[in-house]
């Protein structure tokens, strides 16, 4: 009799610990999503400000300057959904960078090489941060979808995180297919 009670209590305890571990894992995943999202935001903002720096540097012709400044403004203004606006900035940057002779026309000018390298580095960081973010989003969505998590509502009120899809390649060759050109 006593042993039965002990076994039942122990089993309940074990199940409780397991369920709480699963809930904790989902909670930790959501926290990681938040962190990854914050990191992605920072890289997007950084890319925007470097692009603006390039636009206002006086190194470019005014049309390219205006194009870039307009795209940065669009990415920040919230008129378009964020993913679309940031993709537009990518396309504007790519259009600028893929002009024939773009680099050679700038090289040798004060600070030009540095600034171009900054834009490229910031763009690459966006690419990395987005990859990491989508990775943890996928893991979180997967964890939430498990039967136990669904039945016991282990994710509580937290909304399922969304993937962040955007065009983030600065190099025309890679993405030419996706633009349909």
């Amino acid at each position: 009799m006593i042993t039965d009670i002990v076994i039942v209590v122990a089993a309940a305890l074990l199940i409780g610990v397991y369920v709480s571990w699963r809930a904790g894992r989902i909670d930790r995943l959501h926290a990681r999503v938040d962190m990854a999202r914050a990191a992605l935001d920072v890289t997007l903002l950084r890319r925007g400000s470097v692009a603006l720096e390039l636009a206002t540097s006086g190194l470019l012709d005014p049309a390219t300057s205006l194009l870039l400044a307009g795209a940065v403004h669009g990415a920040r203004s919230g008129d378009l959904p964020r993913d679309l606006a940031e993709s537009d900035l990518t396309r504007a940057l790519r259009a600028a960078f893929s002009q024939p002779g773009f680099r050679s026309s700038l090289s040798g000018k004060d600070g030009a090489d540095e600034l171009l390298a900054d834009v490229e580095a910031a763009s690459h960081q966006v690419y990395l941060a987005r990859k990491f973010y989508n990775d943890v989003v996928a893991a979180t969505r997967d964890a939430r979808r498990r039967p136990l998590a669904r039945v016991l509502r282990l994710s509580g009120h937290a909304k399922a995180p969304e993937f962040f899809e955007m065009d983030d390649s600065l190099i025309a060759e890679k993405s030419s297919a996706s633009l349909g050109r």
């Binding site: 470019l60 390219t64 205006l66 194009l67 795209a71 403004h73 504007a92 002779g101």
Partner: protein, 382 residues
Amino acid sequence: MRIGIVCPYSWDVPGGVQQHVRDLAEALIDEGHHVSVISPADDDTPLPPYVVGAGRAVPVPYNGSVARLSFGFLSASRVRRWIRDGGFDVLHVHEPEIPSLSLLACWVASGPIVATVHTAIPRSRILLVTYPVVRTGMEKINGRIAVSEAARTTLVEHIGGDAVVIPNGVATRRYRKADPLPGWPGAGGAIGFLGRLDEPRKGLSVLLKAFEILGPERPGLRLLIAGPSGDAADVLNRVPADLRSRVVLLGQISEEDKVRVLHSVDVFCSPNTGGESFGIVTAEAMAAGLPIVASDIDAFRQVLRGGQAGELFVTGDPADLARAAGRLLDDAALRSRLSAAALAAVADYDWSVVARDVFSVYETVVLGSTQAAVTAPGNGYP
């Protein structure tokens, strides 16, 4: 006078600015001026003799939509070469606030410059940010033209400075003659409508209601409707079933077909309920020599000379439209009188008249300039 005109958008894509530049250039050439236009264009696009291609335009997102623009140092040096070869007395740039050839032309050029603003969108913040890169170019502009009062207002409020308003012209010659579509207008007569089907202010529903009155009285009468956007089935559903076969919808049509449509009907209807500042479509129908029946909004009252050059009906009133259209359909003599009156009235809006107004802006700017001709100094940075 030697005139250089800069078009910022790709010549091979249809658009209002391109059309404006083409009509203006041709009207100025007719007046005996030497005109050269530079425009982005695909290499294999056939260009009129007065157009110089500035290379392929790149599709880029700008201001919420994708436009085909020319930018960068290569484009700038092409513009510079064109200015040097052209020896222009005046440079006329269109839409200098768009990141394309016009802005580049302002950047590399020195001398008398006129700019035309077609759609002034408040972009002052972007312009502020890119100051002085962009402003140095814009500040070289000696005279500004806006194509509408709305464009001028936005320009004054957001960009500063002032502009003279010179509206678009109508290339009346282009509408004068065309072959009707096969089988039109037909013995029972036909009424035409051009415009967006889903824009209530274009007033298509007023015309459809009027057709419910006219249709049963006149068994052969048909409606010919052409315009972009909107669901054809949805339009037909608004017509009683027994009249549906007599309502023909063409959807979006080319410029050439538009002229043919105008020559395929006996009466043209402009049932707009408001929102027109000029009524370009109505003016084009007048240029085709069509008798017009139009709502009596200010814009139409003005272009139709208070009713002398076309029948006016009470805005938004299908019964009155049916009465006015019926009168025209029944009276061939009245139709031909109104046709002649419409042709005479629309001549005031012809490009030749508009081009003369533009030319007087050129003259003013040249008079005020210290420089005799447009030059493009420097070869890398201005």
